[in-house]
C-alpha cells in the first residue's frame, strides 16, 4: 500500500527557505515519464525549500552520467542527488563527489560503491516480485504469461525481470514468451502483435514498464482477444488512467514524485547537519482498480 511518505520531512520546511543552497540532480533519463515525474518531485520540493537546482540528464549513458557529475561539480553544488543509470557504473561518479566533499544522495537506484549519505528508493526487484505475485493471485497460481522486457542490459530491465521471475519460480505459471520491447510503447505494440500471432493461449502479460504495457494493450485490443491480464510498472498518468478504465489490470507505483521530494528533504537535512539513515525505503504500491 502507499502510506504517507510525505510526512517525513514536512515540519522543518518553511523556516529554512533562506538557506539558499544549491542542489545538483543528475538523472538517468528524461525521456521516460517516470523520471520526468521524479524530477518534478525534486523541483517542487526544491522550490518550496528555496534551493537552487541544477538538473542534468544522462540519457541512459553511464559515461554521459560521469561527465554530467563532473560538470555539475564544477558549479559548486552543496548536495548531489543522483539517479544512477546503473548501480555499478555510477561508483566512480560518486567517488568524484566524495573527493570534493559534496554529499551524495542516490535516488531510485543505489550505488554499489563510494560514500553515499542516503539512498532513497523503492526496490525494482521488489516491484517485479509484487507484479509476479499479483499475477499468481489473479490466475490462481497457474497460467501462461508473456513478459515484455526493457532495453536489454539496463538495470531496470534486469531487476524487474529478476523480481518477477523470483515470484513465479515456485508457481505453475509458465512464461511462454519473453521478448525485449525496449521500454518503448511502439515496440510494445508490435512485439505484442507478434507474440499474439505466435501464442494462441495467453493469460497474462507482465511489462517491465507502463509504456510497453500501453502498447501491448493496444495490440491486445486490436486482436480482439479476451481475458488477457496486462500488468505494467511505474504507474504513469496514462497507465493509472488505463487501470481506472479497467483496461490495465495493475501497475506498480514506485511513487517517483515522493522519491524526488524526499531526496530534497534529505539533502536539506544533510546541509543542516542532521543525522540521516543510510536507506530510506519508499513503499511500492500496487495500483489496481
Amino acid at each position: 500500500g502507499g502510506q504517507s511518505n510525505e510526512g517525513n520531512g514536512e515540519s522543518e520546511a518553511p523556516e529554512q527557505t533562506q538557506t539558499k543552497g544549491k542542489i545538483g540532480l543528475v538523472i538517468s533519463t528524461l525521456n521516460n515519464p517516470f523520471f520526468v515525474t521524479l524530477r518534478e518531485g525534486v523541483e517542487t520540493k526544491a522550490a518550496e525549500l528555496g534551493y537552487e537546482l541544477v538538473v542534468l540528464d544522462s540519457q541512459d549513458e553511464s559515461s554521459k552520467e560521469l561527465s554530467n557529475v563532473e560538470d555539475v561539480l564544477q558549479q559548486g553544488i552543496d548536495v548531489l542527488l543522483i539517479n544512477p543509470v546503473d548501480s555499478d557504473a555510477v561508483a566512480n561518479a560518486v567517488k568524484l563527489a566524495n573527493d570534493k566533499n559534496v554529499p551524495v544522495v542516490t535516488l531510485d537506484r543505489s550505488a554499489s560503491d563510494g560514500d553515499v549519505k542516503v539512498h532513497i528508493a523503492s526496490d525494482n526487484v521488489a516491484g517485479g516480485k509484487m507484479a509476479g505475485e499479483f499475477i499468481i493471485q489473479q490466475l490462481n497460481g497457474k497460467g501462461k504469461v508473456v513478459q515484455l522486457q526493457g532495453i536489454p542490459g539496463t538495470s531496470a530491465a534486469r531487476d524487474r525481470g529478476k523480481g518477477f521471475e523470483e515470484a513465479i519460480k515456485d508457481s505453475d505459471i509458465e512464461v511462454i514468451a519473453s521478448q525485449p520491447a525496449d521500454f518503448d510503447r511502439q515496440k510494445g505494440l508490435s512485439v505484442m502483435e507478434n507474440i499474439l500471432q505466435a501464442q494462441p493461449e495467453i493469460d497474462a502479460v507482465f511489462c517491465q514498464n507502463d509504456e510497453m504495457a500501453l502498447g501491448a494493450l493496444q495490440a491486445i485490443e486490436a486482436s480482439e482477444r479476451e481475458g488477457i491480464l496486462v500488468v505494467g510498472f511505474d504507474a504513469t498518468d496514462d497507465a493509472v488512467k488505463a487501470v481506472e478504465e479497467g483496461k490495465l489490470a495493475a501497475t506498480i507505483a514506485q511513487m517517483p514524485e515522493v522519491i524526488g521530494s524526499m531526496g530534497v528533504e534529505y539533502a536539506h537535512k544533510i546541509m543542516s547537519g542532521e543525522n540521516v539513515p543510510e536507506y530510506v525505503p519508499v513503499d511500492l504500491r500496487l495500483v489496481t482498480k
Binding site: 528524461l30 515519464p33 520526468v36 521478448q179 511502439q186 507478434n194 505466435a198 493496444q218
Partner: protein
C-alpha cells in the same frame, strides 16, 4: 546507316528483377521462418507483418528520395515525433481528425523543407544538417509535450492506424499508396529523372539546366512528409504520441533503403527495393518474436541475418 548491334528493346521485367536481387534474401528468410514456425505463414500474421512494416516502409519511401540524391536524413525519427505530437495535441483538443492529421503532415514537410534549405542554401553537409535537426526537433518535441505522452486522440484519429478497408489494414493501404506515388514520381516524371541526375553527377546536372537546389530541397521536404505520415499512424495505433516516438527510426529506414539496393552515393536505386528492404527488417523482427529468441541473442541473430541477406546478392558488383 550501320549499327554493329541491333538495338534491343530491353526487357524491363528482367531488368527489374536483376535490380531487385534483394528479393532473394527476403524469400529465403521467409522460407526458413515458415519452416521454423507454423504461425509465420498464416494469413493473419502476414497482414500483421505488413502492418508493422508499413511504419518503417513509409519513412523509407521518403528516405529513398533523399538517398537517391546522395543525401541522408537522420532527422526522420525526431520529425516523426514532433509532427505526431502536434497532430495528437490537436486531436486531443477535439480538432477534427482530418485537420489534425493534415496539420501534422504539413509540419513534417516544413521541417523537412528546413533541412533542405539548410543543405542547399547553407551549404551544410546533409549528415550535419539533419543531425542538427534531429536533436532540435527532439528537443522541441520534449519541450512541447513536457516529456509526457499526449494521449486520448478520439475516434476519428483512431481510424488511420487501426482501421481496415475491406480486409486490408489502412496503414498497409497508405504504404502501398505511398510506394505507388513514389514509383510514379521516380520512374515516370521529370522530377524523378532530376532526382536521379542530381545523385548521379551533381555538377553535370547543374550544367544540363537542372535546378539542383530545388530538387535537393524537395527530397528533404518529401522525407519530412513521409516521416510525419508514419508518425501520425504510430500515434493513431498507440492512441498516444510519446515524445520518444521514432528514436532510432533513421537507422531502420536507411537500412531498408540500402538493403533494397540503393547506393548511399546516390544516383542508383529503386523504390521497390526499398519496400523489400523494409520487409526483410519487418519479417526478421516478427520471426524473432515468433520464435521467442531470447533477448540477448536477438540482436546477434538480427545482425547475422541482415548480413546473409545482403551477401546473397552482393557477391558480384
Amino acid at each position: 546507316m550501320n549499327h554493329p548491334n541491333p538495338i534491343v528493346r530491353n526487357n524491363t521485367l528482367h531488368n527489374m528483377f536483376l535490380k531487385l536481387r534483394s528479393i532473394i534474401g527476403l524469400l529465403l528468410l521467409s522460407a526458413i521462418l515458415s519452416v521454423l514456425s507454423p504461425r509465420f505463414l498464416t494469413y493473419s500474421n502476414l497482414f500483421n507483418v505488413l502492418r508493422q512494416t508499413s511504419l518503417n516502409a513509409i519513412i523509407a519511401v521518403g528516405m529513398t528520395f533523399v538517398i537517391l540524391t546522395g543525401g541522408i536524413d537522420l532527422s526522420v525519427g525526431s520529425i516523426l515525433a514532433f509532427s505526431s505530437a502536434i497532430a495528437a495535441n490537436m486531436a486531443h483538443n477535439n480538432t477534427s481528425a482530418a485537420v489534425a492529421i493534415l496539420t501534422g503532415l504539413v509540419v513534417g514537410a516544413l521541417l523537412g523543407l528546413t533541412n533542405g534549405l539548410i543543405v542547399t542554401q547553407g551549404n551544410v553537409p546533409p549528415f550535419i544538417a539533419t543531425l542538427a535537426m534531429m536533436t532540435m526537433a527532439r528537443g522541441a518535441t520534449l519541450v512541447y509535450s513536457n516529456g509526457q505522452p499526449i494521449t486520448g486522440l478520439g475516434d476519428g484519429f483512431y481510424l488511420i492506424g487501426n482501421g481496415y478497408l475491406g480486409q486490408i489494414p489502412i496503414p498497409v493501404i497508405i504504404t502501398i499508396g505511398a510506394l505507388l506515388v513514389a514509383y510514379y514520381i521516380l520512374s515516370q516524371t521529370r522530377t524523378g529523372r532530376y532526382i536521379y541526375a542530381v545523385g548521379s553527377n551533381e555538377s553535370a546536372a547543374k550544367l544540363t539546366g537542372i535546378n539542383t537546389k530545388l530538387v535537393k530541397t524537395l527530397v528533404y521536404a518529401i522525407s519530412g512528409f513521409t516521416a510525419a505520415l508514419s508518425g501520425i499512424i504510430i500515434a493513431s495505433r498507440l492512441n498516444s504520441a510519446p515524445p520518444t516516438a521514432g528514436s532510432g527510426a533513421e537507422l531502420d529506414a536507411i537500412a531498408a533503403v540500402v538493403l533494397g539496393g540503393t547506393s548511399l552515393a546516390g544516383g542508383e536505386g529503386h523504390i521497390a527495393g526499398t519496400f523489400i528492404g523494409a520487409l526483410i527488417i519487418g519479417v526478421l523482427n516478427n520471426g524473432l518474436n515468433l520464435l521467442n529468441v531470447s533477448s540477448y541473442y536477438q540482436q546477434f541473430v538480427k545482425g547475422v541475418v541482415i548480413l546473409i541477406a545482403v551477401l546473397l546478392d552482393r557477391r558480384k558488383s
